[in-house]
Amino acid sequence: MSEQDFIVEMRGITRRFPGITACDGVSIQIRKGEIYAILGENGAGKSTLMSMLFGMIEPDEGEIYIRGKRERIDSPRRATQLSIGMVHQHFCLVSNYTVAENIILGMEPKKKWGFFPMVDIAGANAEVAALSERYGLKVNPEDVIEDLSVATQQRVEILKMLYREAEILIFDEPTAVLTPQEILAFLNIVRGLRDQGKTVILITHKLEEIKQVADRCAILRRGKLITVMDVSSSSTSDMARMMVGREVSFTTPKAPHDFGPAVLRLENLTVGNAVGCNAVNSVSFEVRAGEVLGIAGVSGNGQNELADSIMGLRKSQSGKIFLNGRDITGLSVRERVEAGIAYIPEDRHNVGLVLDFTLRDNLMLRQYYQAKFTHRHFMDEAAFEKYGEELIRRYDIRSNQGGATIVRSMSGGNQQKAIIARELDLKTPLVVFMQPTRGLDAGAVSNIHRRIIEERDRGAAVLLISLDLDEIMDCSDTVAVIFGGRISRIAPAASLTVDEIGLYMMGVRGGEVA
């Protein structure tokens, strides 16, 4: 095969950050018109590698060739000129603009109104409609972004790249927030893009999806390229082993056992959201000791509000919350923690951690004021350090300077480990997990799932709220589906299928409220 056949070639790419080498001499070659997956644990360097291809950061060493020509990609603007496009994990859309306005933003079609240049919105609408027709991406150009589902917003992001005539399309964790049905649709879109001659690069840790659509797959581990596999001739367990460097089991083993008495009980709980609507509408359920209750649902159906009101971060409008029979509806956050709730929040960066504190201080956030660690309001630094080191060791939290590391510089997986260490070490009767594995890799995910089961086996009641249906099915004893702020179905996990839950999640079914 000659040089020209590779549309993208990265040679010996190295990129260092303080204390860590994110990419270490990585070389990959991507053919025109293939779907190329990049697989790796969190902190393996896959996002860093693609950020360099898209010009968001520059490599310290190494060369990038696009269509056989050496290029210096120093900005996303340059990448766009080279017809490279990228859809980020968090979408970059202006929420109160229409679909077409978002797509043309930055390269608006202009027309003249007398002397004044103005944006040709009608032309843009027509162009976007034609584009969405051609690639089979159904969107209405005049819809406003904030009214659209996540899956539709993703289609807008794809159209944005296509409008800029991108030939090389990079997707960063594209299916993290989609329902099973939406994932199938997305994978079809990706196949369609390939059939139209586009080159697609998928950054993901979902092996099933790679198996379904990708042609080849590069596996990164700790910044190094381990291997490039031909997907059709290798199994998912092979890929997983290469990625993690050891065997990974996909199902978390859990022994069946009987549940204890109800630990958490909600009675007709109604919670408002920021704009005053009822995000959670008269929800009642209970979680028993030794039970994992998984709450499945599409993003934005009241999950955040439900978890926040259980933790006391958000006031409920009516209804009651009981913990071990005690009414905790009026208690403050700290009183609830002391009453026995641990909470792993969804937003690691703005809620779960003080990013500019040291790891040690973050591990102390729940307990710093207690007599063990503080004497007459003076913090006992030796006790902080001892406890911090113990948690770091027991939960295997990796960082470059131990307890003194500023948390912001740690990888996502290790940040999450820090939160989990801090919360689970409280040994509370109720543990609430909100999206605990979001954006984490397979190795970290199986570790966290094991922790969830350990909590259950210890006799804690576990409330697991997740958008990842596999995770819900894997860990839960009981599954509840939330749609439009109501629980539309609640049943033992064994009696439900993924497709059935998917239908409840999208509100197709759900007349019979359990």
Binding site: G43, V337, N350, D356, L365, R408, S409, G412
Partner: protein
């Protein structure tokens, strides 16, 4: 070697480095301006140091020498240390306290009228202590009100600060002009020497010097504040709130209490700055003006990286400029405003460096 490396590249000294560059750039900018005005920047800066008593002048007036200049310099620096600590405390909790001028004026004014009402009833040490207590109480009360408004009604503290400054200034001006004016100087009647925090014009060894009694207190306050912020649970909560409101709430920290506490401490320091200024450096209040030092304190706190000891150091530098400017302008016949100009440039650079120096690179 390792220390040197951390000094130049490490995370620990990042704020210090940012301040250093801010200072260097500002002095360079000031030098450029002086140069364009046809003056010699080197001798201008040397004059600043001479004026502040850090270098010997060519000749001195009677009863004065380098030491008396330096003592006056410390006297001027004292309220600046308090004022910048006030701003820095609020900054650590993520608040922008620009009400320091108002707090200073209110505290100084209240101390004035209380001491006037008491007359000579109190012995001197007790009177001085009472002045300090009034400063703390008035500043803390005013600032806590702002904290309460912020927490309870989510009123931006910058807005309340600006309003407070005006309200205090006009009330004080009205009162002084109506009831309390010295008809000759058109200022408020001076505070008694017994209550004044600066021993002014003391004859000593054939010299005539000013002793700022509050200066040791200002240094002590900086050390206490550092211990408070770094070692106590209150400080931990204040820092957590300043760095991440969401995480502070999540960890069960009471936002209301922490906001009130921070603002009260910040206000108390602002009040101390007020009494050190109006009942120390000066003996009376000029109606119709706000102490500009309260605004300069923002620059000083930023230059000091929001750290208490950094504030002391930054106050030292800024006071050199403000104290030395008189001597510089008389020697070189440049306008004394050039000193304010350099101070302003430092404000801009230190504000910029606070934002680019305060960010850390993340990965993946």
């Amino acid at each position: 070697m390792k220390f040197l490396r951390s000094l130049f590249f490490g995370d620990r000294f990042r704020m210090l480095r940012a301040s250093f560059w801010a200072l260097l750039f500002s002095l360079a900018a000031g030098a450029l301006i002086l140069f364009l005005m046809g003056k010699n920047p080197v001798s201008a800066y040397a004059n600043l140091l001479q004026g502040a008593g850090l270098l010997p002048k060519l000749k001195y007036a009677g009863r004065q020498n380098q030491l008396t200049d330096f003592l006056s310099f410390l006297d001027a620096m004292t309220p600046m240390v308090f004022a910048s600590l006030s701003v820095a405390t609020a900054l650590r909790a993520g608040f922008f306290n620009i009400a320091v001028p108002g707090q200073m004026l209110a505290a100084g004014f209240c101390a004035h009228i209380v001491m006037a009402a008491l007359g000579d009833a109190l012995p001197s040490p007790l009177a001085k202590i009472l002045v300090l207590v009034i400063g703390i109480a008035v500043g803390a009360a005013l600032s806590a009100c702002m904290g309460w408004l912020k927490y309870r009604f989510n009123v931006n503290e910058v807005v309340t600060s600006i309003m407070l400054n005006s309200i205090v200034m006009y009330l004080v001006t009205f009162y002084i002009n109506t009831f309390y004016v010295n008809p000759i100087t058109r200022q408020s009647r001076p505070i008694s020497d017994a209550a004044r925090l600066t021993l002014s014009g003391v004859r000593w060894n054939g010299l005539k010097a000013d002793f700022a009694l509050a200066f040791p207190l200002a240094i002590l306050a900086a050390f206490l504040l550092r211990t408070f912020l770094e070692r106590t649970t209150y400080g931990f909560e204040i820092r957590a709130l300043g760095l991440s409101r969401g995480a502070a709430r999540y960890s069960g920290i009471s936002l209301g209490q922490t906001t009130l506490l921070t603002m009260a401490i910040s206000g108390a320091l602002g009040g101390l700055a007020g009494v050190a200024y109006f009942c120390g450096c000066f003996a009376s209040i000029q109606p119709g003006t706000m102490p500009g030092m309260g605004f300069d304190a923002i620059a000083v706190a930023l230059l000091g990286g929001g750290q208490p000891l950094g504030c002391v150091f930054a106050s030292f530098l800024i006071t050199i400029i403000s104290e030395g400017s008189v001597y510089m302008s008389s020697r070189l016949s440049v306008e004394p405003e050039i000193a304010s100009l350099i101070t302003s440039v430092i404000l801009i650079f230190s504000a910029c460096s606070a934002s680019f120096g305060g960010r850390r690179g993340g990965h993946d």
